[in-house]
């Protein structure tokens, strides 16, 4: 039972990235229609900086995952559901990398370099090109709506497992709020 949990690190990264994604998605939707103001420039800058942050966190998460295999899916799950779950996870990772990349490229094509936290300049991989910038904006947006749909499916599946199959698929990814009775606070720190 204990072995069938995600590691603390994986759980922390999952929820941190989830929070950032929801925030970035909402801000991204809203910021486009703002009238030009210093506030808008700040919001765009922070959106870009946080996006770079998510990209790096996803890389950290993938590296961690490579060394710490996620717990197996419940044995009772039908094969097609397992395949669907793996496919969905793969697509989520792919989009979590592709979306910040598309945002970075869009920014370059629109003539605004990305300077992380105003300090670290990322190279412009594309020259300024209005048509390309507009196309990348559509791409960035479409990928985001794609991700939103997948996140809904992902969360829906987790809730279905919890409520209908009553298995541990959801709970093994939840942070442990308090130690179980008779257990020290962090018996499985390293896992």
């Amino acid at each position: 039972m204990i072995a069938n949990r995600y590691t603390r690190t994986a759980i922390a990264l999952h929820w941190l990235i989830a929070l950032l994604l929801v925030g970035l998605f909402a801000v991204g939707l809203a910021m486009h229609d703002l009238p030009l103001s210093p506030q808008k420039l700040k919001i765009y800058a922070w959106h870009k900086w946080a996006g770079v942050g998510v990209f790096l966190l996803v890389l950290v998460r993938l590296a961690w995952r490579a060394g710490h295999r996620p717990p197996a899916l419940p044995a009772a799950m039908p094969g097609w559901q397992k395949t669907a779950a793996h496919g969905l996870h793969f697509a989520l990772y792919l989009l979590m990398l592709a979306i910040p990349l598309s945002g970075w490229l869009m920014s370059s094509a629109k003539g605004f370099q990305t300077v992380w936290f105003g300090v670290l300049p990322l190279p412009d991989l594309l020259d300024k090109n209005k048509a390309l910038g507009d196309a990348l904006q559509v791409a960035h947006m479409s990928l985001n709506f794609g991700l939103a749909a997948l996140v809904v499916a992902h969360a829906g599946a987790a809730i279905k497992h919890h409520l209908i199959e009553k298995d541990d698929v959801l709970t093994r990814m939840l942070p442990r709020m308090r130690p179980s009775p008779g257990m020290p606070a962090s018996p499985d720190k390293n896992r």
Binding site: L41, K42, Y44, G111, F112, Q113, T114, F117
Partner: protein, 192 residues
């Protein structure tokens, strides 16, 4: 003795020839080859822009730089500030207030040689009705040797708030930096 005189004559003749070759006066700026660009900094990000329309009138004789003069009339309405949204914004009252101040001008007061092809231009820059003294180093070269077009390259940094460019909420220099780098590349034909 004769020999010495001849050498002296030859020397002065070549000196004359050298001065003569350089004494070409430059006048009209070629608008299709000249550029006035600027770089502002927004949230730490350098953003390039330019003035599409300007008229530069100058008198410059490389042999007599001190007698040179330059006048530049910029059309702020022709600004390309990096994006369509920014172009609309800078026409407004907090930025260039084009309705009231349709032009920006620069009038030189002196040109000093700094040695080699380097010079220093000083003068008065007026933007949005506010005048400031500026000093801009520049280089001068001739395209394709003497008789070719004259090419002036230079630049300087101004503080936009000295000219009340970006007032109100925009006066926050943490978002849009106060310092704006201006660069000019002016190509002029020799005066006939």
């Amino acid at each position: 003795m004769t020999r010495l005189v001849l050498v002296a004559l030859a020397l002065s003749a070549s000196a004359l020839a050298a001065t003569g070759a350089r004494a070409v006066e430059y006048g009209q700026a070629l608008s299709d080859k000249s550029r006035v660009t600027f770089t502002s900094r927004q949230m730490g990000v350098p953003v390039d822009g330019r003035f599409r329309k300007f008229v530069a009138t100058l008198a410059f004789d490389p042999a007599k730089p001190a007698a040179a003069s330059a006048k530049l009339e910029l059309d702020p309405a022709s600004i390309d500030a990096g994006s369509g949204e920014a172009n609309d914004e800078v026409a407004g009252k907090p930025w260039f207030n084009l309705k009231v101040f349709p032009t920006a001008t620069f009038v030189s007061s002196s040109v000093k040689p700094l040695g080699g092809d380097r010079y220093e231009l000083a003068g008065k820059l007026t933007i949005k009705g506010k005048t400031q003294d500026i000093v801009a180093p520049f280089t001068f070269r001739q395209e394709g040797g003497s008789g070719g077009n004259g090419v002036f390259d230079g630049g300087f940094t101004l503080k936009r708030l000295d000219f009340a460019v970006g007032e109100g909420v925009w006066s926050d220099v943490g978002t849009v930096a106060n310092e704006v780098q201006i660069k000019f590349h002016v190509v002029v034909a020799p005066r006939k």
